[in-house]
Every structure is written in structure tokens, then in C-alpha cells.
Symmetry: C2
Amino acid sequence: MTRPSDITRDRILKAAERLFAERGYDATSVRAIVARARVNQAAINYHFDGKEGLYREVLRTAFRGLTEDQLAHADDTAGLPREEALAAFVRRQLHPLSARDEASRYMRIFNWETVRPTPVFRKLMSEEAAPFMGLTVDLVRRFLPEADQRSLMVAAIWLIGQCSVFVRNREQLAGPPVALELDDMAVDWLAQLLSRWTMRGLGAA
Amino acid sequence: MTRPSDITRDRILKAAERLFAERGYDATSVRAIVARARVNQAAINYHFDGKEGLYREVLRTAFRGLTEDQLAHADDTAGLPREEALAAFVRRQLHPLSARDEASRYMRIFNWETVRPTPVFRKLMSEEAAPFMGLTVDLVRRFLPEADQRSLMVAAIWLIGQCSVFVRNREQLAGPPVALELDDMAVDWLAQLLSRWTMRGLGAA
DNA sequence: TCCGTTTTCAAACTCTCGTTTGAAAACGTA
DNA sequence: TACGTTTTCAAACGAGAGTTTGAAAACGGA
């Protein structure tokens, strides 16, 4: 494997991932991508059938990367008491805060999409978000056993939203007027705080 | 006042506000703006010294409009019991869900900025967001009278984040796999749900 | 009314974008 | 080695972007 052509493909993907995360789809030019990847300009059209096709590929990678972490632990948490399962879920959702890795970039790509979703993203979302949403709904159901489906859905989004506001706005929150510096220890502290408030909110002791 | 030239200026501002809110800065062309405003293409450069100057002006308007809107209700809520004050705050934060008015557009322009803040926006934010944050911190302090400043800050962001996740992602949440349709009645129901969970989370009965 | 200023206008300019092209190079297999 | 295929490459294309231009029109005080 790893034929020369695959190397080119990979370099493009890596460069595109970084640039899309940093500037968004529109503001990222094909020329900027090929310059960073040090490949020819026509390579994107050859390997990905255009800029949009490349973006689709990057989005897929990002989505898998973000959700597989939670999905991989789905079985573990199912065996835990609901309080511990929730705490673990929150801690994992906050993970991009304590690591400047792929997950942070993936999150950033998603941020661009939340304001005005591209058709590519909409499709991906409607096709592949179900497992993750299901997992989250299952979790909140353990606290709201009698709630209807719509309430469970809202509770799941509520839970996700509480975490994502910190992840999304980390950079801004670091500055005035909030000045919230989040080192690794602070992230653990934050996770505990959020877990406690969420559990109490959903009616646990 | 309202000389003919001011009318042109105003038409451009109104059209730009709508288009920037809808599509963001990059994806909005000056040709689209002048078409909607029904003015000549050169008018933007004449009156605002270019697209960027126009955006700066729109951003200023948006910021003023939003902060005035939020802070105008600060006095009302100060007199209410903390539970009612919180409910009113949540309902107010969810307002863009049920109205397509100026405030919703302003919020949307801000959403664009949270992904990749322009220098103009950063400055505006660090200088003028303090009153709104202060208001929110005051509100959560009524539930956490003994908490330190950092916890209060986190609680304030937590509160804001719970609401904004529904506002920001309204379009996506309407589709699969969530399929959360939010008409006016549903927004009221959602506001009640969020208020209740938040209050319990922060330790109120 | 007259005249200098302000404002509008259609057209063109320059730049960057994503994509296409056709040939050259590299590759894999017999 | 020889040959068909895959992959790379430099160059150019057409579309759309923001801006500039210079003249025409509208305005406003004397």
C-alpha cells in the first residue's frame, strides 16, 4: 500500500483539514491547500473531483473522529451507575479543551457548519449523527425514565450544549471580560461542576 | 435631515445587515448588497469606503442594538424573585427562535464572528461585553451566593450556553435525526424546561 | 438662474477563484 | 525492455469578486 498517489492524496487531506478548520470552506482556496500540501493544483480535481469533494472527505473524517470516541465507550458506560456514566460523558465532551489535537480541529470545522450548514454537512449529519444522538438520549433517559421522546431529545441537546459552549468559545473565553484560563486541572474541575449541575437539573440527588 | 444621500446610505445598511446575517461576510458580495438595496454598485465605496468599512458599520449597529436590548431588561429582572428572573432571562435568550426581527439578525451576525472573530469584533467584545456578562453573573449569584468568582463565571457561561445551543443550531435541529420543530408554543415549552433544569442544577427547589 | 459641490451611474479594470486541458512523467506488468 | 495505465505538471480559461473611473445628474446656497 501507500502508493505514491496515496501519498499525494494524504498530503492534500492533511493540509485541507488544517486550512478548513482555520478559515472555513469559503475562505480556503484550492491554491492555498495545494501550496501547503506541496502538490500540483490539478491534484485536487484529480483525486477528489473538486474542492467540494475534498471537503466532503474532510468532513467525514472529522465526524468519525469526533463521535467514535464517545461511541467506543458506549459499552463501558452502559455498565456504570448513571452518575458515573454522565460524568464520563461530560469529561469526554470537554476533551478538546485539554488537547490541541485532531479533535480540536474537527470541532472547529463543525463550528463553521453550525452557522450556515453546507448541503454536504446536512447530508452527513442526517445520515451519521443518529448513533451519537441515540447514545446521548439513552444516557439522559436514565435520569428521566418517564419523559417523552421530544423531552429526551431536548435534554440530550441541552447536555451537549453545556459542554460545547466551553469548547467552541475557548479562545474568546480566555480573554476579557471572562478571562477563563483552562489548563488540564481546570478542565477536570469544570467537568465535575458541569456534571453536578446537570445531574441535579435532571433530578438526581 | 434624511438627505437623499442618507437614504442611499440607509438602504445599503439595511440590505447589508440582512445579507451579512444570512450568509456571513465572505459569502456576501457587494453586488448582492447593491441589488437588494437597489443602488449603484459604486455607492458602497462612496459611502463606506469599501465592503470592509460597510461591515464595520453593520457590526457596530448590531452590537449596540443587542446590548441595549439585553440591558434594558436588567432593571425589571432585578426586582423579581430569582426563579422568575431566571425564567425571564432564559425566555429572552431563546427569543431569536420565535422572532425574525433585528435582534435575531444581530445574533446571527455574532454567530459568524464567534467562529473566526475579526479584529473589529474582538475589540468591540472585550470593551462592551462586560455589562452583559455582569448581568448574567448577578443572576446566577442569586442561586450560588457562596461561590467564588470563577465558579460564577462558569455558571454564567453554562447558562448562556444552554440557550445558545438551541438558537445557533435551530436549522440543523429541525432536520433528522433530531427533528425538533420549534413553533412559538414549543419555544415557551422549551424555555420552561430549560429554566427548571437550570434552577435545579444550581440548587434551587 | 447660476455654479461649485455632492451624489449617482454604467462601464471597465484588476485580481483571485475553481476548474480544465493536453502533454509529460512515473508506474506496473508482461 | 516495451507498452498501456495512472499520476503529475504548467499553463490557460471563464466566472465572479471588489474596486476604480470619469462623466452625468442632482443638489443647494448665492
